[in-house]
Chain length 317, copies 2
Amino acid sequence: MALTIPDAETIKQAAERIDPYVHRTPVLRSAFFDKLTGVSLFFKCENFQKAGAFKSRGAMNASLSLENHELKAGVATHSSGNHAQALARAALLLGVKAYIVMPKTAPAAKVAAVKEYQGEITFCEPTLQAREETLKQVTDRTGATEIHPYNNYRVIAGQATTALEMTEQCPPLDYILCPVGGGGLLSGTALSAHYFSPQTKVIGCEPKGADDAFVSFNSKTFYPSISPQTVADGLLTSLGSLTFPIILKHVHDIAIVEESEIIQAMQWVWERMKIIIEPSAAVPLAVAISGKLDLQGKNVGIIFSGGNLDLKKLPWL
Amino acid sequence: MALTIPDAETIKQAAERIDPYVHRTPVLRSAFFDKLTGVSLFFKCENFQKAGAFKSRGAMNASLSLENHELKAGVATHSSGNHAQALARAALLLGVKAYIVMPKTAPAAKVAAVKEYQGEITFCEPTLQAREETLKQVTDRTGATEIHPYNNYRVIAGQATTALEMTEQCPPLDYILCPVGGGGLLSGTALSAHYFSPQTKVIGCEPKGADDAFVSFNSKTFYPSISPQTVADGLLTSLGSLTFPIILKHVHDIAIVEESEIIQAMQWVWERMKIIIEPSAAVPLAVAISGKLDLQGKNVGIIFSGGNLDLKKLPWL
């Protein structure tokens, strides 16, 4: 595994490496939201990304960076979310196996999504300990390489390509607002802004019901995510040992929003932009709408991180 | 009112006239649907159109085509659907009043959408007779010009600009699949194909539960839509005296699909393309998926006609 924080060249190489396998997603505008907020908003639509989320970037970059003999034995992770789908897809494209450890309580839709990409699922008890132990058993048995969803520099370099593209697609941005769960996207975004657009301030955006990054950032001390309660199911995880230091060094601030603000922002995006984003993806826009940051008249990039959710369970129903 | 069927020049003029007021909507592709159908599909995304549907084109063209003294007195229609919103928006942009007659049973969401564009609503009993009589009273009182949702050549010329753009945005198309309700979009599409892409066959696509166009087309005799039952609420209306002859002359065929096929197509679009289309907009894709037409290996344009619906009442819930 790459042992150092990705530098500018590493991120550019990641962008080249994954280019044949991922979308260069569009940046959309919205007259409605510009008027609502008084801000010039630029929406980077990773909801249109392959497998429906930015996670395809990191999973692809990490898989493609393995040595041939490593890659042959396959890749593995414990996840029930977008990273599991993204990793299964990466493995399928590269002709190797993806071993995915999932809690046996995982929703049928998420199991089906991994199976669609021919991921080999091992079910376990729904505890972190069971997931980690089961993953260890799987990697011991198969020799597959674990690709962590965020605590992996190659994954971070892959996620960083999102903001790299934004610097090419948008006018100079004063801010980028980015959701934060484990911090893979946020740390990658902060690195890309630092290298490629140093005047851009990066703000992590987090649900108040899962504010471990907010607390950790402000106290400069790692606090894990304990019993998080939020509709933004992609943002439940704790920061990682690799992501937290990057965030501390390069992120300008972390802002939190209420559940009702997240749901309202998401519903407005569906109604006004006619595009589907998942709850986690609505968090940065909710921050922009909340007025908690002084963004008036600024150019602000918003990362719509993904568009995967159960269409039968919408948060406003 | 323009008294003759729009010719090529008239449609080009309509495109120029409305250009500052409407979006040139994108044409999207989908690897998933291409694979599913064996067809090269080109999706014209009028769900991203201003006010959420192609109706903005016809309403804008008709309003802009009025003489100054006519325009000053405002525009009027009886509608509770996308045309009402589109006409209210057109009037607002042109600084005149839009008088909208709506049944008092209209959903709150549709009333709110018209009010957002400052349309002046007159409520009436929920019968066609009451709607027509109330509209007559309103136009007598105000001097406003009625803009019919589809039985109006300027509206038809406006809707025809959708397919005109497709001929510029897509490779040569073998087919265009287009929903049919009153026939404004379908007749405009057929005219544009005839003038600008004569090798393109235009297929009207209709729910089996509202198959008046199918019956009328095949019998060459006008049959009204009586007690239509379909989730595609934009396709409940009967063909018009102006649209039906154009459809008879220039449309290649009309295809019908079941409700379940419409809902499945719509849900797949939401899941796979991450964009929001309304049920009526899913009908042409449902036809392509059904295999009822021999489209294998062809280039086929699909018009996603709109994206307005109540997000609390999804057809798969």
